[in-house]
Subunit: 377 residues, 2 copies
Amino acid sequence: MPSLKTDCIYQGACAEILDRLPEKSVDVVFADPPYNLQLGGELLRPNNSRVDGVDDAWDRFRDFAEYDAFTEAWLRACHRVLKDTGTLWVIGSYHNIFRVGARLQDLGFWVLNDVIWRKTNPMPNFRGTRFTNAHETLVWCSKGPDARYTFNYEAMKALNDGLQMRSDWSLPLCTGPERLKTETGEKVHPTQKPEALLHRIILASSNPGDVILDPFLGSGTTAAVAKRLGRRWIGIEQDPDYIAAARARIAAVTPVDDPTLVTTPRKRSEPRIPFGTVVERGLLPPGTVLSDAAGRWSARVRADGTLISADHRGSIHQVGAAVQGAPACNGWTFWHMRTQDTDAERLVPIDLLRQRLRAEMAAEGTGTTPESGGALQ
Amino acid sequence: MPSLKTDCIYQGACAEILDRLPEKSVDVVFADPPYNLQLGGELLRPNNSRVDGVDDAWDRFRDFAEYDAFTEAWLRACHRVLKDTGTLWVIGSYHNIFRVGARLQDLGFWVLNDVIWRKTNPMPNFRGTRFTNAHETLVWCSKGPDARYTFNYEAMKALNDGLQMRSDWSLPLCTGPERLKTETGEKVHPTQKPEALLHRIILASSNPGDVILDPFLGSGTTAAVAKRLGRRWIGIEQDPDYIAAARARIAAVTPVDDPTLVTTPRKRSEPRIPFGTVVERGLLPPGTVLSDAAGRWSARVRADGTLISADHRGSIHQVGAAVQGAPACNGWTFWHMRTQDTDAERLVPIDLLRQRLRAEMAAEGTGTTPESGGALQ
DNA sequence: GGCAGTTCTGAATCTCTTA
DNA sequence: CTAAGAGATTCAGAACTGC
């Protein structure tokens, strides 16, 4: 099995190149395949200027059958090189996304989300014959229904001002200085994607050091953003002009050197601390009375790190669930202790003690290093 | 060939019923088929309450093959009953929309647009495992690449306050009084669609008197909106409980009697907040009579968000200016509506509705997009 | 009645580690 | 492999409760 050389562009047809890479070696695939646009003649704006549509050879297919065969080949090849914990992103429009989506489901990929790139500045429909085509669709999937995968939930939530990131993303088209131009001022690539789009994708679904593969690299947006965010990358591209432009572009990118700048740790990945340790270290003496925030229920701390209430005994979680009659409970945030704060007596969650202990252990160097990002089911 | 009886619900399996209808007799099909959700066990919110997921028998399929066969059967039957100038709408999620989209392309349907219903108030992802599933996808297609079809471009542009209607529509879920409930307070139907969605679809792709067919009628949203907008309709549904609820609902609808209220022959200009959204969201039903503060002039509201008076038609601003013989007019403050306030009937400016909508849109919080910046979708 | 706080709910493929 | 236990996790809006 060949080893995996990263941070380089492979020239050639993507399915063939992919078949020569080692299996289960890639963390994230981002694919921007030909859309099979099936454009008719040329399109004129109301002022009779010509719309520079996609008419390149790489977007010409005889029929759906040929496009489907092409799609299945590269998807299958991607499935092989993906790690079992890896995920695949594909972007497309209504011309091709149903073909792609159905094929990837048939190949066993498990759709996690479809994501809408809502364009803030789309090209209008000049003829007034349809709705302005103002979005593109991304499909995000894991290797199977039970596969674990990386989703940096907290990073996405932070990016969205503290609210869960939704499946619709409003971003402008790639224009202005970001858009690569030739010396004669022509677009280098007809469908260059905005870096903001790749920024969000890579931040959401990978960790620093991960390998991001783009089987249709084009002008190199994926590689440029991956490099900047401290990820390794692999690009596959046929066209030597695109490759030249991408190489120059990627070379000009300076990576963010501090990994903490490009990760938002999940609570799930923090070291686990048994409640018993809190008692053992004397942060909470046996016999201390805990209660919930509203003071409805109470329980006492036992020396072995279990709780005892009027009717129940067990872990902080078990007793919390039992007194509420709930199926489950996070005891750390449910149970509170009295604390003398300035003058008034207040109730604070015992999770504060866990946080203090984590800080102490980090200072001692005894705690396990928090893993970056969270691996999800 | 049987004749086409309209404005009624046929009970039975949709493909079988469709096969008994005359061919090429329907103008628009709107289909909301089972999504094949494949939900696992139960899901609890962070507060331990149970999510009432869709587990109905009609959404259970063995595998993709069975779902695909089901899909192809009803799509093929719809193709037969559609006029050559007819169009088909299908709504779905990532669970099924790729299967549906690929099959309808295979059957010869020609995709005109995919349209995103962006939900302003979706259910969150409670476990923090994915992006909030905040949208659904509609596919709109004609019978073939060269088929003519109805698209009321000007009506859609008017509804979007003078800007081309885009392929992404922001609308709230069907909740509150619009949501049908049983006597015991349960949902009549687990997936009732908002009337605003059907309002836009029917206004966009049909004319008064056209026949709208819904092969999965459910609680009858399609029929209710079609009737109100002066279209004929046909519903197909298996479940007798859904049928009973739909019949009662549809019977309570009063059609807009004047066809000129639901079509748009002329152009108009561009204010900042589309008055059409006020209409579409049901804050002001088509046919409502508006007047100026002194009661000197009056005009009626049309379904696309324009007004019609004795001598004039156009935007709220244009008609306001025209009736006064003034060069310009702010329709938002000029036009008033009657409101039942405490005991007395009063006239209040329709700007109140805009303010309410602005508050809602601000709460929707879409950040830097034009949508939150004023150009309502 | 009015206002504030609480509860409820919506097409949802919704955990991970250790024993 | 399964089972058990720890413990992480929510936004908008309507409906309801209580003062």
